[in-house]
C-alpha cells in the first residue's frame, strides 16, 4: 500500500515549543519536521523529557501560551493549525483529528454513562438525529471490540477496565471518521495482552480505514511493531528519522544504537548495553550536540557545534557529526 503517496494528511514543519520560565526561555521542542500520509503510522520515540508528548500537544494547540510559545507550521489537509481561529480549530479537533492519551480514565467524565458521552461527542460534529447517532455508538463499540455493546453503553466509566476504557476512547476518537489519530502512550498503563489488542486495533484502523496515525511512545518494541516511519527524539530535537526497517536494521545515531542495545531481549542474556548518565534537563543543556556527554564516539567537534539533521541516505536523516560528516 502506498503510504503518503498523495498529499500528506499532516505536514509539520519547523515546529518549535518554548517556555518562558524564571531561568529564561527553555526550548522544549526544537525544529521538528515530518509528514504523515494516509494510512501511515509514524512513531515519535524517546525517553521522558525528550519532548515527544509536547510535540503532539503542540500540533493540537493544547499547550497554554503564555507561558508557552509555539512556532512553525502544522499543515493539516492544507490548513495551518497554528494560525487557525479557535472555532475552526475546535471543529477539527475531535472530528478530523482524534487524540487518545495514556490514561483513559482521565478523559472520560465519571458521572455520565459512556454511551451518552460518545453520543454527545458525536452530536457536536455530526448533524444526524439522536436515534441514528445511538445506532452509530453501538456499532462503533462493537467495532472496537467491546462485548455486548448495548449493555456496556449504559455503564459508567468506572465500570470499565483500563483496556476497555482505552477502546472506548479509541471508539470516541474514530466515531467522527477522523483522518488523523494522535495516540500519546496509549497502552503504557495497560497489561501486555490487553495492549496487544488495542495496538492491533489501531493497526487495523490505519490499514482498513486509512487513518493517519501519530504514535508517541518510549517503548521501542511497540514502535518497531507498529510504525512505518520513526522519529527519534532527544532533549527536544530529532536526532534520527527514517523508515522503521532502516532504523532498526541500521541505526545511524549513537543514541538510537544505544537505546536498542539497552533493551533486554527475549533471546539471550549477557550484559545490557547501557547508556551512562541521564538525559539533560532543558535548563542544563550541554553545548554543541546535546548527546555528546553520553556518547561513546563523540569527537571534539561535537562539543562545539550542534550537528544539523541531514540526509544520510535517501529517506534516512540523522543529526550526528560522526555518522554523517559534512
Amino acid at each position: 500500500m502506498a503510504h503518503g503517496a498523495a498529499d500528506p494528511v499532516l505536514d509539520v514543519r519547523g515546529l518549535t515549543v518554548e517556555f518562558s520560565t524564571e531561568g529564561g526561555v527553555l526550548r522544549a521542542v526544537d525544529d521538528v519536521s515530518f509528514e504523515i500520509g494516509r494510512g501511515e503510522i509514524v512513531g515519535l520515540v524517546g525517553e521522558s523529557g525528550a519532548g515527544k508528548s509536547l510535540t503532539s500537544e503542540a500540533i493540537l494547540r493544547l499547550i497554554r501560551c503564555p507561558p508557552g510559545r509555539v512556532r512553525g507550521e502544522v499543515r493539516f489537509r492544507g490548513q495551518n493549525l497554528l494560525t487557525l481561529g479557535e472555532r475552526a480549530l475546535a471543529d477539527i479537533r475531535g472530528k478530523d483529528i482524534a487524540m487518545i492519551f495514556q490514561n483513559p480514565g482521565a478523559s472520560l467524565n465519571p458521572v455520565f454513562r459512556v454511551g451518552e458521552q460518545m453520543l454527545e461527542a458525536m452530536a457536536v460534529h455530526v448533524p444526524e438525529r439522536r436515534a441514528a447517532l445511538r445506532r452509530r455508538v453501538l456499532e462503533i463499540l462493537g467495532r472496537v471490540g467491546i462485548p455486548s455493546p448495548g449493555t456496556r453503553a449504559r455503564d459508567y466509566p468506572h465500570q470499565f477496565s483500563g483496556g476497555m476504557a482505552q477502546r472506548v476512547m479509541i471508539g470516541m476518537g474514530i466515531s467522527c471518521m477522523p483522518s488523523l489519530l494522535i495516540a500519546d502512550e496509549p497502552t503504557t498503563a495497560l497489561d501486555v495482552t490487553i495492549q496487544a489488542q488495542v495496538l492491533a486495533l489501531i493497526r487495523r484502523l490505519a490499514r482498513e480505514l486509512g487513518v493517519a496515525v501519530l504514535l508517541v511512545s518510549h517503548d521501542l518494541g511497540i514502535i518497531s511493531q507498529m510504525c512505518h516511519r520513526v522519529l527519534v527524539m532527544y532533549a527536544g530535537r530529532v536526532v534520527e528519522q527514517a523508515s522503521v526497517e532502516a532504523i532498526f536494521r541500521a541505526p545511524a545515531h549513537p543514541y538510537t544504537q544505544g537505546l536498542i542495545a539497552c533493551l533486554p531481549r527475549l533471546e539471550g542474556t549477557g550484559k545490557l548495553g547501557a547508556i551512562g548518565g541521564a538525559m539533560p534537563g532543558l535548563a542544563a543543556l550541554p553545548p554543541g550536540c546535546r548527546f555528546h556527554p553520553r556518547c561513546p564516539v563523540s569527537e571534539p567537534r561535537c562539543r562545539v557545534e550542534a550537528p544539523p539533521l541531514g540526509p544520510l541516505r535517501p529517506e534516512h536523516q540523522v543529526a550526528c557529526h560522526v555518522a554523517r560528516p559534512s
Binding site: L199, Q225, E245, A246, L263, P264, R265, A274, A278
Partner: protein, 338 residues
C-alpha cells in the same frame, strides 16, 4: 540449615482481602463475605544466590506475594519458611533477625526515599537498627555501600530531591543492602525508570548478585526484564502459579497457554518488516475474570484457545511436566496434545 535447604520456601500461601460490602447488603441476606483472591495457594522455593522472577499482569498477585514473603502484609493461610525457620506467625517483636536478612527495593524511586532525610542517614539507618556497626565505622560502611551502587561518597549529604530517578533507585538499593541481607525482593524495581537508566540498574542488580551472593525474588510485569535477570521464572495468573521453569526453558518452550499468549503479545524489537499486531489470531481475546467471583475450574479457561471440557470443571494442579519445569494445565496431565 543444610546446603540443600532452600533459602526461602513458600507453601500454599494465601491472601484474601475482604471486600467492603454496602451496609444494607449485609441486612438483606446472610450471604458469605466476599473476598478478593489476591494470592490463592502459591508454592515455590528460592535457593541461596538464585534469582526467581515472578511475572504476570496486573491483578495476578505477584506484588502481593512479594509483600507476603517479607511479612509486610500478613498471610491469610500458608507458610513462609526462611532459612529453615517458619516465620509465618512469628510475633512482630521476634522478626528483627529476619528483617536483617530479607529486604526490599521498591518501584517508585520518588516516594521510596524519605524527602527529609539525607542519603547517608537513610543508608545508615539499617546499620544502626541492627547494630552492625557504631560510631565512625557506620560512616565508612555507608561510603562503601554507596560506592558499591556506583554513587560517589559525596552523595551522602544530599537529599533525595537533588537526585535523578536512577540515582534514587541506587540509594534504595544501597539501603536494602546496608544490613547485609541474603534475600532481596525487587518489587518492579526498574519499571519506573527510563529505558537507558533501566539498563544501568539491571546491570547493577546482576553485578551485586555475583559479588554478594544475593538471592532475588524479582517481581515484574516486563518479560524482557525477567528474562535478563532471572535464573528461574514463575508465571502467575489470578493468584495462582501457571508455570514455573528455568528462564531459558520458559522462553524457548513455554508450556502453559497463558505463557504462550503472553510471549506472543510482547512487542519485541523487530526489524520492522512485519508486525505481530497484523496477526490478531495469535493474540489473546477477552479480559481477566473478576478476582472476587472466580470461575470454577481453571482460571484461564475463559480465554484459553485450547480449552477442554474438564478445564471448566476441575482446577489443574501445578505439576512437573519436564525436569524442573512445572505447569498447571490439563493439557499436560493425561497425554493431551501440548
Amino acid at each position: 540449615m543444610t546446603p540443600t535447604t532452600p533459602l526461602l520456601e513458600v507453601r500454599d500461601l494465601v491472601k484474601h482481602f475482604p471486600v467492603r460490602r454496602h451496609p444494607l447488603a449485609a441486612l438483606r441476606r446472610a450471604a458469605p463475605a466476599r473476598v478478593v483472591h489476591a494470592v490463592d495457594g502459591v508454592t515455590f522455593e528460592v535457593a541461596a544466590g538464585e534469582t526467581l522472577g515472578l511475572v504476570g499482569e496486573s491483578g495476578c498477585g505477584k506484588t502481593t506475594t512479594g509483600r507476603l514473603v517479607l511479612r509486610a502484609i500478613e498471610p491469610t493461610r500458608g507458610h513462609i519458611v526462611f532459612e529453615g525457620e517458619d516465620i509465618t506467625s512469628l510475633p512482630a517483636g521476634r522478626l528483627l533477625p529476619f528483617r536483617r536478612k530479607a529486604q526490599i527495593v521498591f518501584q517508585d524511586p520518588y516516594s521510596s526515599l524519605n524527602p527529609r532525610m539525607t542519603v547517608g542517614a537513610m543508608v545508615a539507618e539499617p546499620i544502626r537498627v541492627h547494630r552492625i556497626a557504631a560510631g565512625a565505622e557506620v560512616e565508612a560502611r555507608v561510603r562503601s555501600l554507596l560506592d558499591m551502587v556506583g554513587l560517589s561518597a559525596e552523595y551522602a549529604r544530599r537529599y533525595p530531591h537533588e537526585l535523578s530517578g536512577g540515582q534514587r533507585q541506587r540509594v534504595g538499593i544501597a539501603r536494602a543492602l546496608a544490613a547485609g541481607p541474603r534475600l532481596v525482593v525487587a518489587d518492579e524495581a526498574v519499571s519506573a525508570l527510563d529505558v537507558s537508566v533501566r539498563a544501568q540498574i539491571l546491570n547493577l542488580f546482576v553485578e551485586l548478585r555475583e559479588r554478594l551472593g544475593l538471592a532475588y525474588l524479582f517481581v515484574s510485569h516486563d518479560l524482557g526484564v525477567i528474562r535478563f535477570v532471572s535464573h528461574r521464572v514463575a508465571v502467575m495468573y489470578l493468584g495462582r502459579l501457571a508455570e514455573v521453569a528455568p528462564a531459558s526453558a520458559l522462553f524457548k518452550q513455554p508450556l502453559h497457554p497463558y505463557t504462550q499468549a503472553l510471549l506472543a503479545a510482547i512487542p519485541a524489537v523487530g526489524d520492522g518488516s512485519t508486525s505481530i499486531f497484523d496477526n490478531p489470531a495469535r493474540l489473546l481475546e477477552g479480559e481477566l475474570p473478576n478476582p472476587i467471583d472466580l470461575p470454577r475450574g481453571c482460571r484461564f479457561a475463559s480465554r484459553c484457545p485450547h480449552r477442554m471440557s474438564q478445564c471448566e470443571e476441575v482446577e489443574p494442579a501445578l505439576r512437573e511436566a519436564a525436569p524442573g519445569h512445572a505447569v498447571a494445565c490439563h493439557l499436560y496431565t493425561e497425554g493431551g496434545t501440548p
